[in-house]
Symmetry: C5
Amino acid sequence: MSVVKKILDGYDSDNAGTLSNIYKLLMHGKLAGTGKLVILPVDQGFEHGPTRSFAPNEKGYDPDYHFEFAIEAGLNAYAAPLGFLEAGSRKFAGQIPLILKLNNSDLLMESSNPCPAVTGSVKDALRLGCCAIGFTIYPGSTARNTMYEELRELAFEAKSYGLAVVVWSYPRGSELSKEGETAIDIAAYAAQIAAQLGAHIIKVKLPTDFIEKDDNAKMIKKYNIPIKTQADRVRYVVKSAFNGKRIVIFSGGASKDLESLYKEIEAIHEGGGFGSIIGRNTFQRPKEDALEMLNKIISIYKS
Amino acid sequence: MSVVKKILDGYDSDNAGTLSNIYKLLMHGKLAGTGKLVILPVDQGFEHGPTRSFAPNEKGYDPDYHFEFAIEAGLNAYAAPLGFLEAGSRKFAGQIPLILKLNNSDLLMESSNPCPAVTGSVKDALRLGCCAIGFTIYPGSTARNTMYEELRELAFEAKSYGLAVVVWSYPRGSELSKEGETAIDIAAYAAQIAAQLGAHIIKVKLPTDFIEKDDNAKMIKKYNIPIKTQADRVRYVVKSAFNGKRIVIFSGGASKDLESLYKEIEAIHEGGGFGSIIGRNTFQRPKEDALEMLNKIISIYKS
Amino acid sequence: MSVVKKILDGYDSDNAGTLSNIYKLLMHGKLAGTGKLVILPVDQGFEHGPTRSFAPNEKGYDPDYHFEFAIEAGLNAYAAPLGFLEAGSRKFAGQIPLILKLNNSDLLMESSNPCPAVTGSVKDALRLGCCAIGFTIYPGSTARNTMYEELRELAFEAKSYGLAVVVWSYPRGSELSKEGETAIDIAAYAAQIAAQLGAHIIKVKLPTDFIEKDDNAKMIKKYNIPIKTQADRVRYVVKSAFNGKRIVIFSGGASKDLESLYKEIEAIHEGGGFGSIIGRNTFQRPKEDALEMLNKIISIYKS
Amino acid sequence: MSVVKKILDGYDSDNAGTLSNIYKLLMHGKLAGTGKLVILPVDQGFEHGPTRSFAPNEKGYDPDYHFEFAIEAGLNAYAAPLGFLEAGSRKFAGQIPLILKLNNSDLLMESSNPCPAVTGSVKDALRLGCCAIGFTIYPGSTARNTMYEELRELAFEAKSYGLAVVVWSYPRGSELSKEGETAIDIAAYAAQIAAQLGAHIIKVKLPTDFIEKDDNAKMIKKYNIPIKTQADRVRYVVKSAFNGKRIVIFSGGASKDLESLYKEIEAIHEGGGFGSIIGRNTFQRPKEDALEMLNKIISIYKS
Amino acid sequence: MSVVKKILDGYDSDNAGTLSNIYKLLMHGKLAGTGKLVILPVDQGFEHGPTRSFAPNEKGYDPDYHFEFAIEAGLNAYAAPLGFLEAGSRKFAGQIPLILKLNNSDLLMESSNPCPAVTGSVKDALRLGCCAIGFTIYPGSTARNTMYEELRELAFEAKSYGLAVVVWSYPRGSELSKEGETAIDIAAYAAQIAAQLGAHIIKVKLPTDFIEKDDNAKMIKKYNIPIKTQADRVRYVVKSAFNGKRIVIFSGGASKDLESLYKEIEAIHEGGGFGSIIGRNTFQRPKEDALEMLNKIISIYKS
């Protein structure tokens, strides 16, 4: 358990309530005590629509399924928007740590400078028994100030009630290239911004070896920052989040073949990442396949 | 009564006050205890103007008429904007469950990206003895964040007072095609968004078999989602609202011949829809005709 | 007094405080108990500037004059912006019911989509001893949501303190034709919107027989709605305000010859209108002329 | 002292606290009891920058200087932004009535439709021992609603604490001509707007005989309103501010030769103006010259 | 210690809490009691990204490093955004005065009229044991009103809790030339604005001898304001901040050779500046080099 204690030391200024909730996330499920997390997020019904999200495995239309699945898979937590958590938080009370996702976008009106709607509140998180709030920021969007300032208020309120704060940090906006959204320098910057805004847990996408900004490319070259392997890049993003003093977890994006996925997990593990947040790759597969996949992933993180 | 009990189970996390008000809606009128609802909405005076709305049956200019009609017809509830409810809520107190519609648009200034004005408050609903608030969202509008965030605040406040939340979810906006507004994939998405935003009761338009988004068309084909008949489509929209754990009711739009209307009701019933919200088709007919029509509709839902 | 009682029945859901204030308006001055009202509004100093407003009768520069005039003429109430009421409400306390006009525009910056500034508060109305607040909306303006939502908040607050709510409803905006601003269908719509927003007393302009919207023209023709005479049109607007359950009063616009004005008053009376709000036609005449004119108007309403 | 009593009668609806503060302004300094005021405003450091403002008399860089100067000159009050008052309000506590200027613009970003930033609060005015707040509005600016509504809130709060409200009313905006900014009809309108918004003391620029609006020109001609001499125009502006029931003071603008300045003061005095607000003409001269000039001005107002 | 007492006299109107915190800043570290300050700011991780900021000295990725460094170097204070202070404020509690930077920009979306996001609150500053808040304004930006008004609110709240207010005043915006951003007249104006907004400590960039505005150039020439040497310009900026009654400190910008840097420090000292705020020049060097550099700088300020 010393690894968990060491992680908590990085949150030294937080109150006992927040520390307890971070502890709860780290001590639940099959990875309890390892300092690693695997979290199930299901906001795709809102973000991509029910058809694209749940048609591949129609059990996913039912909010109960995701609670049951996260519990059975022994994950650390389940994250979802207001409606999905309202539907099951009482039935499954106490069986799985919950993260209420407080903002969401949908695909019916897209913008090159996205700004999600705030769809829940800290008091909703409290009445639903959650241990954390979740919030998405899009650094690079012209609407970034709106998101940063919403997060500031919600995070302040959440911390005052002893909740933890999980930030999805996804660079996106009209001045960023498409490749730049997952560039290593931008991923590191996104992690830094989330950390400076007071996030306890930061979720970023796995970065590529592309470098968006010339200034950063010069620095990476001059100071020989290793970014060649996926593990290198994970290590650099974790370093960019207060030298590893903030929990950084990674998402894998759209469904892909399992071998590629396991390799990514190994790279996250090797690079000192704190774990994964895996949505579509789980709930879009038949339950038994998904459980098997997660067992494999968990075993990698335990290795 | 077990059907009502089963419906209430889907709202398990709600407080006793809200459950009592959903129960009240389901246990009032001729459909009491069937798990079905027929609701009278009269916001057309605001939305389309008095002339277009009430000229066909001039009794409709009088707010009392709609209370009396909904009571006499044995409907589950009557929904209207502030003024109409203020005019009769004391006189008819307790005789029919009321839903205060909290936002409204008018036709004097139309926009391709609509955003209604908030025209009432949760405290108005309380002082007028309502059991629920009503709110319209237009997913697809550039102003969607405004609406979603207004709904979030109003729904949170309503729930804190034990009221229920009814959401009219009408896709509309500059990136949607005209046909897309009632496309099956978009209707399912609209129901999902309302459910994720915390609606207890969701009102959508009857969907066509048009599919707006290619990504959805591929899914519907690949996974053989039945959308051919009206009943199929109703079933899919209900499934998209948390696998039937949220009450979804359907509107029929502009007045039409009765046979078409009854066929629609049969399809809603067959597809597992929870009922209808019928405005213009009722109050624009002579009272006796309208009562006869509603008796027929109710008998379909009871069959 | 039974006519006053009958009018109050239309406001059945309001609290005793608000009913008392509507009663006060109906029971003051020479028209007390008739169910008719003549109100003096003096916001032209703000709206059109002092020169255009008060040069024709220079006593009008002085705020005392308007209090004295309304009292001497035996009118039902005096309505003005903050400054004018602050200047005399203590000196003339209790002698004439006051309406604090809570929003105002000026001519120094005009817009085709007008939106007045909120220039006073409900608490100002209370400290100045007013019985009602007044508020202007411009249905048809792109800024209508701002106005409707300001009105919602102010009206809610006013009612909570037992004040009455008077709404000036003037269609205006970039999608309306100039003629449409006083079209019969639009005037009826404007009255309906004000009523749905919770107004107790609605002020509209006398409508012409022009019809702005084709949909409305069809209805008026199909259902033989009489709109040929001024009295017809007054009757239709009153009907459009909850079938006569809301007090609707009419303004006459710019100064004109007296015979035309009296004919308008007769038409308002014949059509079941509740009275007049007359500004420039009074305070821009010599006091004795204005008093004589108002006596004539009052005698018409008493006939 | 009867002149002061008569002025206070115009503010009859105000509470004792506000009346005391207006009284304090009228009873301080060399003009005490005359009903006239000379006020020192020093916001040019913010509005025009320190170099343009204070280079001509470098003592002006020091906030103490302005306190000392206003006290020594025997003025009625000293008005300045937050920083300048914070710097000396304790040291000179009680020695000179203070007006906290609550909004300010700077020259680093100019707009044809100006809107100052709100730079202080009513509670700042209280903690600094001020007797009034000051606020600038720009009638004619597209941002006028913002300013009017800020003023409404601040003035309401100030009055609730017994403070007085001083409004700088400067017509400016894209629809006004440059000459129109000081036109007699516009100056009268600006005074009227400030009065209607609830100002106790109104500051306008000395108007020219230019007339901006044709409608006003017709009225001025038709009703023979005298505007030929400066005294005529002062008289008309004072009349436009509630027939002299509001204190109206005048500013003289940029520095000029003393003879022109004294003539202006004589015209203000002759026209029934209540005094002057003189900034640059004082603090940009050597102290002794400025004191001598003010003595001369005060002697004119006493004559 | 009389120099500190004299400085505090300039803040005479502030409460004992704020005076104590200014005192604390002036009495901490190697410059304690000299009236001079050297402050370490580390917001570059947010503002420029972690790669550009911390790659040159990788210890800087770790938030602990900056606390330890500021303590070891004997600086007066350490300023940083929320995340960095949350990471160490408990561990290093009491060892170094802290300034919580309350707004921040990032480089992922740049604008010619910048406006930082508010990223922390006054209550965060209190719970983290800070003695001051920090805030950046960009005079010249079209968004200046937003920043000035945010500062007004935050400064008011901070002062009410006895905190001090540090303002970074950086002229920037579409109407300023690039050279104008550091022009002597603009730097003086920026210092004046910050002072008028109620700042206790003002940070500006070292100005050049460029003059942006013709009006100012005329004044500088006419009144022989010395601006030729760096010391002259420092003296003029300090004079423009209430004749030296506000603490003005200077930043040096990007890293440069040490000799140039020491010359700048000497000029600041000679010109009566109150000290330096040095970020990149410290944490981007090896620790020992940076400590040596700061010892040299401190010795200059002590000379």
